[in-house]
Assembly symmetry: D3
Homo-oligomer: 232 residues x 6
Amino acid sequence: MNTPLMNQLGVVKRHILRAERGHVDHLGQFGSATVHEAMGRVGLMKPYMRPIQPDQLVAGTAVTVLLHPGDNWMMHVVAEQIQPGDIVVAAITAECTDGYFGDLLATSFMARGAKALIIDAGVRDVRILKEMGFPVWSKCVSAKGTIKSTLGSVNIPVLCAGSLVHPGDAVIADDDGVVIVPAADVARVASIAQKREDLEGEKRARLAAGVLGLDMYNMRGPLEQAGLKYID
Amino acid sequence: MNTPLMNQLGVVKRHILRAERGHVDHLGQFGSATVHEAMGRVGLMKPYMRPIQPDQLVAGTAVTVLLHPGDNWMMHVVAEQIQPGDIVVAAITAECTDGYFGDLLATSFMARGAKALIIDAGVRDVRILKEMGFPVWSKCVSAKGTIKSTLGSVNIPVLCAGSLVHPGDAVIADDDGVVIVPAADVARVASIAQKREDLEGEKRARLAAGVLGLDMYNMRGPLEQAGLKYID
Amino acid sequence: MNTPLMNQLGVVKRHILRAERGHVDHLGQFGSATVHEAMGRVGLMKPYMRPIQPDQLVAGTAVTVLLHPGDNWMMHVVAEQIQPGDIVVAAITAECTDGYFGDLLATSFMARGAKALIIDAGVRDVRILKEMGFPVWSKCVSAKGTIKSTLGSVNIPVLCAGSLVHPGDAVIADDDGVVIVPAADVARVASIAQKREDLEGEKRARLAAGVLGLDMYNMRGPLEQAGLKYID
Amino acid sequence: MNTPLMNQLGVVKRHILRAERGHVDHLGQFGSATVHEAMGRVGLMKPYMRPIQPDQLVAGTAVTVLLHPGDNWMMHVVAEQIQPGDIVVAAITAECTDGYFGDLLATSFMARGAKALIIDAGVRDVRILKEMGFPVWSKCVSAKGTIKSTLGSVNIPVLCAGSLVHPGDAVIADDDGVVIVPAADVARVASIAQKREDLEGEKRARLAAGVLGLDMYNMRGPLEQAGLKYID
Amino acid sequence: MNTPLMNQLGVVKRHILRAERGHVDHLGQFGSATVHEAMGRVGLMKPYMRPIQPDQLVAGTAVTVLLHPGDNWMMHVVAEQIQPGDIVVAAITAECTDGYFGDLLATSFMARGAKALIIDAGVRDVRILKEMGFPVWSKCVSAKGTIKSTLGSVNIPVLCAGSLVHPGDAVIADDDGVVIVPAADVARVASIAQKREDLEGEKRARLAAGVLGLDMYNMRGPLEQAGLKYID
Amino acid sequence: MNTPLMNQLGVVKRHILRAERGHVDHLGQFGSATVHEAMGRVGLMKPYMRPIQPDQLVAGTAVTVLLHPGDNWMMHVVAEQIQPGDIVVAAITAECTDGYFGDLLATSFMARGAKALIIDAGVRDVRILKEMGFPVWSKCVSAKGTIKSTLGSVNIPVLCAGSLVHPGDAVIADDDGVVIVPAADVARVASIAQKREDLEGEKRARLAAGVLGLDMYNMRGPLEQAGLKYID
């Protein structure tokens, strides 16, 4: 088994293998909940990661950046590595709530073709970011700025909000959260998600018509076997 | 004194005594803050319970469900016990942030006549839930799904977000929080709330005209007696 | 050095020196992030202070109030000290999540000319407050009311959400947070903020055109010197 | 179903039905974990309740007190209701971290025969409390004192750290936490706990001898059936 | 009113006015709870500040240091400003849990005569610190080290864990928490604390003899007046 | 780059490559702080992971287990995979505070030669665990037991308290925290740690003699260059 390069600081990896665009776009037709189920219930970031804007769904490929607490120097380094369709995933080496990212960096990221930012820390200028239409999922919002004095790394595997993210992995984010799909798994996961989705339409119609999940999923037997008792 | 049936697992109580509809509807004309005051400042859930949608006020009768961490099996069992006008109150036996509830269950709950869900855990598909117009108050939002393997109970008294809820109690929820009114108290509490509300219109007019609360409530004497000093 | 009057309870200071209106208005043209940078990165309240309404920016002069947990008596005392253009900054002597402030007090504060409330505790009636157009930044929302039985103080220096606030200081609040500018510093800070802002327009244009921050800020040399390595 | 008297403030109930001493003492031979299992996994307070002293196990009957945030007046009222063998269970009407209890109150409680204090808030003088040998389980430690100005109640049912406690219930507390056994259930729960304990000695011996739980509990079949796969 | 120099970074103040030794030593005869009461219930740090060692009580004069997240460079600068009897009070410009301080710095601080460290962040080498007998109150413990690249300040007023600390103020810390007494107030506060303490011996004896606080403090009348009702 | 098998559930890997015993033992001569520095400041678990016992330092090789919230079935499966010198690292698929581990499992783990348990959840029977001398680092303590009904996995890479752990990695844990050293890096990291340690003795002696870090590390020049100013 290959140990990820978690402890390389001061490294920028220029060439990464991105998940195939077609499959990532396919994943982007489903919400994070469906993708997370299709993954076998792994890969989801912690629920404290929240969007600064409502009702957005994005899908893209991860470029990763590891930053120090209170220091956003590497944000400028990662900007150069962005390709159209990428989503920047930013991890911090320790807990931090500072605002690492505002409207100027967003302007630069958008000019490079970035689709969103996922950051395990704070952002600022959120009113302007929403006006610009640049989606962000973050731990918090904070006006507190950062300095530029310490190296981190770009495009190494990072731990972000409880998920392991390799550069090139697919990132699916919406109001329900952020889920990571390993680049090697996007086709398989998109296919499973599609099957789930195909089945949901009919289920929804039956439930809307008043059929109970108890009957639709044949749960009455198993519940009785498990010992469920009805009393008056 | 009667000990509540807190430790019965695997039980579904089919017949419960619901708070009278007319009084519940009356309570629904006031916000949670007014009802909470009318209750004598008890019955409020902890402030971490937040709506997924803004500007909603609902009032209904509680059907309760007790679930295990990471397991939403009993959500299907409780669905069958819903009657029009009910609000499902879901408690978990331990802290959990998983997404127990999404658009399919919401479809089923709405088909049964449920007015809202109150859950001391997470929900998902929140964008769709808002589009469907099904109100939810929850501890968090999470794309993480749950399994269906362990029994809980339905319509037993539960502790939900710091409030004791008996099946049939009135539930009032809005942007300020969720308050529970025991079924036996709805008429009395609605009457007190009405009296508070009746007085507020005049007070509001006087305050808007620049009258100070200090004068309107005759506070200057008590404040001076308590030792308040004005300095320059 | 002058020790602030932190331990005077039961005191209302009637005459305070407010930051000059013109400079405060000038500060109000910038967001909290810009002002915080211009301050040298101090004076920002903790990021748990969040607005109850989106997309608002206010600037005003602080009148301060120190309250006891669960007791909002002094809110009525501070109301009398409000002058048009003031922002009430409310601190509590211990952690508390109660709803100290609702629509009646907001009506009174607005009648006195208050521009906003900043409170290190909870508020309620938030739907109505938004309709009234009275902006609030708070730690939380809670329907739980308070009693009126214990003295606090008005217009003493307070610690609110991690910031020291003297009466008369400028308060700048928006979606990014709340920043305090000492009354003596408003002219200087506004001037620095203006210079930052003047430079940002050109920077934004260049970044939007695809110029990288790495080049615009001449970071490539310092990064290489710090040891940054590019690999393939 | 009987609604508990949760909303009676300003009430002291003098005569309560205490769980039978013999059964409470019997429960005190087991730790909170065993009792909690014997209860069917209900009745446990939240894990933030921690002892101020290590290695203590106490069992007694609850006298309850409901207090306001920052106000310990009712602590003196509850003292009079203590009988030898009682444990005081103190709940607060809102989140509070103040130090409600110190060495003077502990002296008084000990003189009345109290065996411990369980409080969903803070305590102080903890070094002296440990020297005095008065056990306390609390949410936190804080030197911050309280005032004496607002009524609460004594010996009403309270919600303390997520558990419902009726006066007279058995309280079992040790390093693992605090569990409440309804007075009506003490005999039955003690008997179940005893059976669990009787079986544990033999199990422990077998496990110590190297027998695996997999074999001792016959888990290999069910695990295989559930789909567990061994790979190399 | 004098605005504290909160926003001076990169400054070391060499000459500070320390609270008088005799009064500080006098304060050190009381615990933090007694001193906090004598202060009028202000000056206490938040209760998350905990000692790494049990059963210690220290009193000294504050030398203050303001540090950046993840950067302990100024710890070496403050070491030079320590005089025998001082306690270092370390604040961070943003939330941080890193371990800023270990056995080497403790060796240096002890050599300079420091009596303790109070830090609103993490420390490490705690087993060795306890063996060395150097007391620490901190927000947490963390093995995570820090860098040395950003300036902070020494001996400016700082906000540490919710308390305003001026250099030279008295610091009293024990198991109950950390309280700050302004240098100008030490004599007055020590005198009030002494009076409280003098009264406590007799009170303790009476309570131990079974006298109730209800009677000793003459609370029965006020409680009845407030509406307290005894029921059976 | 090899994507870790994070999403295989229901898998037990029997043969893992353990870090070499000699190097692990060597690492065990240093504390977690020194090892973490030697690693380049990566690999440390979050500081909420605390020991249940003071003053312990352990080093061993990781066997990993991934569990579901509220379900400890896989604890029995992992027991069989333990070899002498191993440390069990237990991760949960979602936040959970239940007590997954008590004295019976500890008896079994000790019989298999386990040196410790690291768990991102709760444990119970902590008094007995301490008496048995079985060290545990956990997120919390809770008497709440778990069920046995859902598969997880054994010896797959897991995310535990913010660290990525591969089976066979070295685990170093003491009062300062828990650090993970990839199996491939143990020799290198032990060598760096040894060098750090060798230098510390002399440094400690000089600091104890009153030499300042400012001089010992030649910091005065860089500080002046960075703009540090001394004032009186």
